[in-house]
Symmetry: D2
């Protein structure tokens, strides 16, 4: 008799991500079939001159939110989903200690998941620092 | 009598980057008017399951090489050049300890610098792990 | 006594676009400070095998909607606004006679306007055939 | 006894493209396992104010060159290869009657082909009007 697989909720995602990719600093803060949110607490190495959160740090949280969106869209954790491409546009300075991203689903197929992402610092959800779109490819069925 | 401003060579870039953005782990390893190369020594937090260097780490070295390309194309250090947009495509796993990027100039104008980047691990320059293209915007003259 | 400059509404945009770029087949169908919509009636040259509207045709309507968004965001017609970059992702086949796009504003500054676009055929607004993001650069003030 | 399938050369590509996608105006002018070139003769509808070849027309020739690159990389015509995503950056005005593109292979796998493209008008190969990168997805084997 087997245990039910865990439902894909915030705690499951964070536990699975921590287990398979311990270096990740990006927490899942919300997940559903068509969206996911993520937050990263910035450290001194994330900050460029002027107190601006660096572009690569913003990319990382956008990429993380898209990864969690894959889990939400598939309804399961999928460690081997991989970013195939992502483009990001930087809109205004990101200043703050919590960097947030929200990914929204465009389409999920057998082969890939595509979505759009908005990134903002602290409570400035209405003033995004970056927008992005990208694709995760799924492993082929065995 | 004034000292000559330093020429933009590898040592100048690394010194200026270290001074203005101490958190950066990305070293300039080559620079000229139409190209720049950069290297990042990966640590445990850069590696995903399977020993693959993460996408955001690859983005960071691509973005760094483009930044150094701006210095090479302008012939001067320009801390306030900022990435306006960058798209990246991941081609194959990146496995190794040194992650390298080479940026090549497409155009440099008064307002922006555009270039293409190739990313690879260790000595696998003929088997890139990612390619990217992007734009840095320059500060407006006062 | 001077006439008021024309407000930027649908008719003004279509008249100005027709005057300055007679080859354009893309009609403005909606415009405001943070969005614009556009429609192209497809012809036989737009259709690939299987009845699918081609990728370049989808790109053209996305690019057109972004151009109209620039007018809406600036509150004036600006013929010399130019696409600096645009990335597009194709999600599913586009089949139909009217190809539509809706652009939404991410940011408008002195130098550029950035937005996201959704593309769909006929009435399938809930099943987009493509999504895109891009940047228009504005002419420098004289 | 069966005839040999045609080798993938310029004439085969142009014949197959013309047969399956008669609306295409983009001719293959060169093809090999790691590159392809394409040319489009511009007409009045391709030209924006100032005599500039429009962005969508430049996108179309970049997309065409990538499609031909797929044939070169696979060694066969593959009508059902489809663009999954393409990003393009516009560098300077394109003025001329022949718009050219050269695509170079980054990687070809079972599922997709990725490449970079340079676009230029007439003989200005050293002054590209646009650069692009993109992905074609291949049909899954039956």
């Amino acid at each position: 008799m087997y245990a039910e697989p865990p439902a894909v909720d915030i705690d499951v995602v964070n536990a699975m991500v921590h287990e398979t990719f311990p270096g990740s600093r990006i927490r899942c803060t919300g997940i559903g079939p068509d969206h996911a949110t993520a937050t990263l607490l910035t450290g001194p190495d994330d900050v460029r001159p002027g107190g601006y959160i660096s572009g690569p740090t913003q990319f990382s949280v956008a990429d993380g939110a898209l990864w969690y969106l894959v889990f939400g869209a598939l309804g399961r954790f999928e460690a081997m989903a991989l970013t195939s491409e992502l483009s990001i546009r930087f809109l205004r300075p990101a200043i703050g200690t919590a960097l947030n991203a929200r990914a929204e689903l465009a389409t999920a197929g057998r082969r890939s998941v595509v979505g759009s992402v908005t990134v903002w610092a602290d409570a400035a959800a209405d003033r995004p620092s970056a927008i992005a779109q990208g694709t995760y490819v799924l492993p082929l069925p065995a």
